[in-house]
Amino acid sequence: MRTRLLVMVAALGLLTAAVPVWAHHAFAAEFDQKKPLTLKGSVIKWEVTNPHSWIHMSVKGDDGQAVTWMIEGGSPNNLYRLGFTRDSLPPGAEIVVEGYQAKDGSNRAVGKNVTFTDGRRLFLGLQMPGTDGEKK
């Protein structure tokens, strides 16, 4: 159903509406709402790409083996405007991801909630870069 117009209407949300749902593409077609999961592990790298950034993280499987997962996130552009840089999410940071696994069964997921182990929520939970990349 390719009517971009209707999609756009929903996107803008009403003054009273809860939240804009429109996204760059239908996430429910990429990830499976019937496969929720929670992943705990350490960041390998934050791939700062568009249309979506991807957090590569290492998760210990039940057998203790480390498995690499890719977590789909948002465009990094506005984080740049808020003073963040590529190095704002340092490798090794311990994070918890609640989300849904990719439909093709690969080690990919969308992170509905991504927090640090102490509960702080990602990026905006990060301490803003005091000196570097500061916007006058």
Binding site: V48, F84, T85, G133
Partner: protein
């Protein structure tokens, strides 16, 4: 003393007017309203540097069915001294890139070309020059970059078109480009770089309808020393010259996603 000065001046005049072979006498471009050389316009390189920065002979193209249309044209080198000073390991990688260029060249996939390749792609680009920002929009893939002419700023992360800070050096627009990601190439012959690439471009008007484009390329991870390319850029002087939309993404989808297509049900 007076006599000596006259001779010197005369000598200078003679020297000044005799152009060294190939160089036009220093040209002073018309000014923009804020007094800078006016680079506004639609420009295009007219060489086969995008096929191969170095001198190259004509060669068979990648697809036999396309015959002469997509054979590789010959080209003079745009590299000064005709030598790209690769470090040994990098030289091997370049040969491998060149051998598999159709599979590896990002331009085949309509990815953003990076700098300086965006300038000498076989398509026009337009310079829209204001005081604070000089925007360069390229017909290819809708690539675009805005050169910050104010106080230099730092990039938050690498990107395909890099991070451009510019300033004027007399008649020349000097653009310092950093933070280009390592996935772009310089041409279709596998010439590549790392994310440590540092490019300094110089755009200098040399006549009403041509610019001299010189680029110093530096990347300690790939090259043993900085090297330079240079070429003229020609203004597109057709009466209604303009950039048209060339969003080539859709022309790569069969290549990139075709195998994921649903098989026709048997």
């Amino acid at each position: 003393m007076y006599k000596l000065r006259k001779i010197v001046v005369a000598g200078f005049l003679v020297l000044g007017t005799v152009p060294a072979w190939g160089q036009a006498p220093a040209y002073r471009a018309p000014r923009t309203a804020d007094g800078k050389p006016n680079l506004n316009g639609i420009w295009q390189a007219n060489n086969s540097a995008d096929w191969n920065l170095q001198g190259h002979s004509a060669a068979q193209g990648p697809v036999y069915a396309l015959g002469a249309v997509f054979s590789i044209p010959p080209g003079l080198s745009v590299v000064e001294g005709d030598e790209i000073p690769y470090l040994p390991a990098a030289a091997a990688k370049q040969k491998e890139n060149h051998a598999n260029w159709v599979k590896l060249d990002p331009e085949v996939k309509c990815y953003l070309p990076g700098v300086p390749r965006a300038t000498y792609l076989p398509y026009p680009f337009q310079i829209v020059q204001s005081r604070e920002n000089i925007m360069m929009a390229y017909e290819y893939a809708g690539a675009v970059r805005t050169i910050n002419m104010g106080a230099p700023t730092k990039a938050p992360a690498d990107s395909w078109m890099g991070w451009s800070n510019g300033h004027w050096d007399g008649e020349t627009l000097v653009v310092d480009v950093t933070s280009q990601n390592e996935d772009t190439w310089f041409d279709r012959a596998g010439n590549f770089h790392s994310e440590a690439l540092h490019v300094v471009e110089r755009y200098t008007p040399r006549s009403a309808d041509t610019l001299n484009y010189e680029v110093t390329i530096e990347d300690p991870k790939v090259f043993s020393r900085p090297w330079k390319i240079s070429m003229p850029l020609y203004r597109r002087v057709e009466k209604d010259a303009r950039l048209l939309e060339y969003k080539c993404v859709e022309f790569t989808e069969e290549l990139l996603y075709g195998t994921l297509r649903k098989k026709a049900s048997k």
